[in-house]
Symmetry: C2
């Protein structure tokens, strides 16, 4: 099946300078995808020209006159920028013109807009942010990474269902193991929300491994790790900070004097191989799970390679049929759709039936 | 002032094989400390003999007939092991025979016993675990690292006061900066508890920097970072896991073939310097803050060097006068002592007046 990806071409720290060449790379690699570049036509055309590329049957431009800035509040983006590249790209998913949307724009605005335009899946209270992290043996999926700072046990169960179906569909694992992030392996450990979430998970039809601890993330103890958005975000950013510090220390030690610089030169191939293995660009592209459409968030500072990885994630998710699988699993777990209307930024929105 | 440290000689994965030689190292380095080794006399004497050492005016043995195992529940340790090396070492702090106690025994049992025997300082609801972590510029203190999974905003304020006084006394910083661990820098970010804790901290007399994020830990943005024990424990263990994975990847890359092994040999001095910089043994020794006495917890798997570092932490804390400073700061912040009695494991304990 051909997949069409709508790209918020203006999003991120570098806008079209990164999104356009990354889109061209993606088109070159995969013959079965089409791309719609959404944003200021002039800026996108200039970037295409710089790469000697043109629009065609597989690549088109969809004009959007506004840009959501990186520090803009979700409220301002929603109210004042109805023709932003971010919103128009999401609209294309809603209308069915695109299978997925990718944006490196600001997380809060993207989540609020995606939730407002696409709505949540029936049975899901709140969307969550899921991403992959490297482990000693491969990768682990983890959610929520920051969308929901306060969670109930029921939210954590919903995250587990969504995450498990994502791993199942994208990684083709029949029954992925699910770990609950905690501060000890015994059932009685943790805060009240996590203890109750453990009970819900034990009673579910998921392949629940039990509690895991922070060090289990990189050990790869389970295929999926579930936590609230506060803890997930802290774990993710702590990891970023530690990796940066360790890289910096290593560089400093190799640059200490002419002798150590010579050592660095000798060890270069090995250091490069090491860097490739922990390169965060390989893990760029977080899924907003729980929406009635596929939205992938790239890191704001992503370069061409990293943004291309986010496009690949969106394509893989589109091909996987994960939205249907989540809906089916929610039914298996007897999770009923939430009340027919919900409140977003003060406006009561009536939910539509699932597409 | 001479400092006397009571050491739970039987605690940790290695017991006297580690605690006794580490104690001998500490005595050699610092002429103004005395050590009491608490535990099974025979086992301690055998270890002293193996190191050609003897008891004397600065080193004595205090017999304790029982040992708390590493996986024993706090309840079992408290009820059934009243003559354990852990408990007797804490008793020596209570009676004033020692200024501080160091144990590598199990965290839950040590915290429960220390709290039961020593009681909390007036105004402190719950003790917290504080430790130092390396940063790009030096060290950062962080608490709570796992004692309290569910916290109120008031608890976080108490942690901030205790931590700030520890940094002030041990690092001789007049007004250490205090960061509140959160998932965004703006005041409106975070979960409900953290938002309210932010308000309390802004209203306090501490040098409150504001919110910090996970990556700020290793950036060294502030002198102290405050969080609940769930988040702190996850951040700490996630760091352990990532550091282990990165070290393992580096080793694997250098061991890939004969060529890379040669590279490793060349780069050895640099790699060793790097390893020294991130050596977790240098940061071993977590303080149980908020008790009416000084208790330092060593990592269970600590070796001689790591355990010696924990002893050094206990000595520095004893010399610093931190307990008095915490009490004074609580008064400045108008934090009243809690109700006269508290409940521990089903037994109502009447609090005594502070020593």
């Amino acid at each position: 099946m051909d997949i069409t990806v709508a790209i918020d071409a203006m999003g991120g720290d570098h806008g079209p300078h990164v999104t356009v060449p990354a889109a061209l790379d993606a088109l070159k690699r995969d013959d079965n995808i089409n791309i719609v570049l959404v944003g200021l036509t002039e800026a996108i055309e200039a970037e295409l020209k710089a790469h000697k590329a043109k629009v065609g049957p597989r690549l088109r431009i969809h004009h959007a006159s506004e840009v959501v800035t990186m520090d803009e509040s979700p409220q301002s983006a929603m109210k004042n920028k109805k023709d932003s590249s971010m919103r128009v790209a999401i609209n294309l998913v809603k209308s069915g013109e695109a299978n997925a949307c990718v944006s490196a724009g600001n997380t809060g605005a993207l989540m609020a807009t995606a939730r407002f335009v696409l709505k949540t899946l029936p049975g899901i209270d709140r969307p969550a942010i899921a991403a992959t992290l490297p482990t000693q043996h491969g990768v682990v999926y983890m959610l929520d990474l920051g969308a929901n700072a306060d969670c109930t046990p029921e939210h954590l169960l919903q995250f587990a269902i969504m995450g498990a179906m994502l791993v199942s569909c994208v990684e083709h694992k029949e029954r992925p193991s699910v770990g609950l992030l905690n501060i000890g392996s015994e059932d009685i450990k943790g805060n009240e929300v996590v203890k109750q979430a453990g009970e819900l998970l034990r009673a579910s039809h998921l392949n629940f491994y039990g509690n895991v601890e922070g060090n289990d993330i990189y050990k790869g103890t389970t295929d999926l790790i579930v936590c609230d958005g506060f803890v997930g975000n802290v774990a993710l950013k702590t990891s970023e900070g530690l990796a940066q510090m360790m890289s910096r220390f290593l560089t400093q030690e190799f640059k200490r004097n002419w002798f150590t610089k010579l050592m660095a030169l000798c060890a270069m191939p090995v250091l490069k191989a090491f860097k490739r293995r922990v390169d965060p660009r390989r893990y760029n592209g977080a899924s907003f799970l729980g929406l009635r459409g596929i939205v992938v968030k790239s890191h704001g500072g992503a370069d061409r390679i990293a943004f291309d990885n986010a496009i690949q994630s969106a394509v893989a998710e589109s091909r996987s049929g994960v939205l249907r699988r989540i809906t089916e699993q929610l039914e298996i777990e007897h999770i009923k759709p939430p009340s027919a209307s919900f409140d977003l930024d003060g406006t009561t929105v009536t939910q539509e039936a699932p597409a």
